[in-house]
């Protein structure tokens, strides 16, 4: 075996790199994504967003092909074909603002009735949560198109998530499955609760907040919507999920409730941001 000696200088350089990385982590964490580091990150993300979007368009067929191969023989393969069609239609329509507007109108007519009079902004997904430890995605519009942190994001059927950071031309959307996501929901019998994400591909769990009332009685398949109470981050009446499981909890009168999100984000290339903030 040949021993390979590393020069002291190289050790110092690598130690300095590691120290620099840890310093950046600490500074970014303390700045909560804002501050100088947050601004630099947004600027870099904005600068690369056209390239990212172009890469997305070029590589998406490859990704779809590989994903289709992985899921061959399952129900998802059929869904994949639908995704390809939707993506092709969406990308084509995105090239013309008028066509995009028309598509947006169609979406509204087809399934965004819960939006009411709230203005919306159509956004294209350019990064579908490439991390395994966060359930988020990146879209192609930001503050220069009127999008702000905290605004709800929806698609045909119901709620998708919320904008957690916004650069000039890109925004990050935290999806409902993220463990740090929570939304107030209305439950039968005048009850309200909080639906929280449990991770990638997992159901949402609902905690009943109104313990002084009679516990809610729910049926599997029932659609649960946002409560829209004061200080809530979402307007009232947006469908959140369908009840997938109701069971009793030992030592508690309140049932354990699980929801399956009504929107499968994988089926969409375009989403709608509600230009709405809590009153």
């Amino acid at each position: 075996m040949v021993a390979h000696r590393r020069s002291p200088r190289s050790r110092y350089v690598i130690a300095a790199l590691l120290l620099l990385a840890l310093t950046l982590v600490v500074l970014d964490t303390r700045g909560r994504g804002g501050g100088v580091i947050g601004r630099v990150r947004n600027a870099v993300a904005d600068g690369f967003s056209p390239l990212q979007s172009a890469t997305h368009d070029v590589l998406r067929p490859i990704g779809n092909f590989v994903a289709g191969a992985i899921d061959y023989g399952s129900v998802r393969a059929q869904n994949q074909k639908l995704r390809n069609q939707v993506a092709a239609m969406s990308v084509g329509s995105a090239r013309a603002a008028a066509a995009e507007q028309a598509a947006s109108e169609v979406l509204k007519e087809q399934g965004l009735t819960f939006v009411g009079s709230i203005p919306t902004r159509s956004v294209q997904i350019i990064d579908r949560s490439s991390s395994n430890f966060s359930v988020s995605l990146t879209v192609d519009k930001g503050t220069s198109q009127g999008i702000a942190v905290g605004e709800p994001v929806v698609a045909v059927g119901g709620l998708v998530g919320t904008v957690v950071s916004a650069g000039s031309t890109t925004s990050t959307v935290r999806l409902m499955g993220d463990p740090s996501f929570s939304v107030g929901v209305s439950l039968p019998g005048g009850n309200v609760g909080s639906a929280s994400g449990q991770g990638q591909g997992k159901s949402l769990t609902v905690t009943v907040d109104t313990t002084s009332l009679k516990p809610p009685v729910l049926k599997v398949g029932e659609v649960i919507s946002t409560s829209g109470l004061s200080l809530e981050a979402f307007p009232k009446g947006i469908p959140v999920g369908r009840v997938s499981k109701v069971s009793s909890q030992p030592g508690s009168l309140e049932p354990a409730i699980e929801l399956t999100p009504v929107v499968d984000v994988a089926q969409f290339s375009f989403l709608q941001v509600l230009l709405w903030s809590p009153p």
Partner: protein, 189 residues
């Protein structure tokens, strides 16, 4: 004499392409809900081909660029993890491991598993508790599936890095045995 700028530019382009590919289609390639980590595989390949220093440098820059485009975790966490991973893999390839297909695939998988643990562990220590919020079973699932992904991708990525990198196809161990590694690294970096 070839300018050392050209190999660096080639590597920079590869880093950009790999990170952009990860952020564009990485999420579409999920198996059991777990996406591959292409930038991490690049850092591992750099360590295998170029040795510990190259692995650390490539890992740092790849991770840092990925941090800027992956806003879910603070800037620097991927840079730290990939830097450590590239360095450790490079150290093993300099001194112990042979540059064979089976070894490359195996090390790709094992290094990825270790890297995920470092990423989550260091992140949790620095206040990123959301990394463990999905539970230990999810962490185990991520480690296993991502390791398999990396084992599959390590061989073609190592070949790619060897092709575009500054080492001209020479495995790092051979370079180390000939005593040329230091001077080569110094010329490149």
């Amino acid at each position: 004499m070839t300018s050392p700028i050209i190999p660096k530019l080639r590597i920079a382009v590869v880093i950009a392409v790999v990170v952009l590919a990860q952020t564009s289609i990485g999420g579409d390639l999920r198996v059991a809900g777990v996406a591959p980590d292409l930038p991490l595989v690049l850092a591992i390949a750099a360590g295998m081909v170029g040795g510990s220093q190259t692995g650390a440098w490539i890992g740092f820059w790849t991770g840092l660029f990925f941090d800027f485009l992956a806003p879910a975790t603070p800037i620097g966490l991927h840079a730290f993890t990939f830097c450590v991973t590239g360095f450790v893999v490079g150290t093993f390839f300099e001194s112990i491991l042979e540059d064979r297909i089976f070894t490359v695939a195996l090390v790709g998988g094992v290094a990825t598993a270790a890297s995920v643990l470092v990423f989550v562990g260091v992140g949790d220590l620095l206040g990123q508790s959301q990394l463990l919020a999905s539970g230990r079973s999810w962490l185990l699932e991520v480690i296993l599936v991502e390791a398999v992904w990396s084992a599959l991708l390590a061989v073609p990525t190592e070949w790619l890095y060897r092709w575009v990198g500054p080492h001209g196809g020479a495995p790092v161990r051979k370079a180390a045995m000939s005593g040329a590694l230091h001077s080569r690294e110094q010329r490149v970096q």
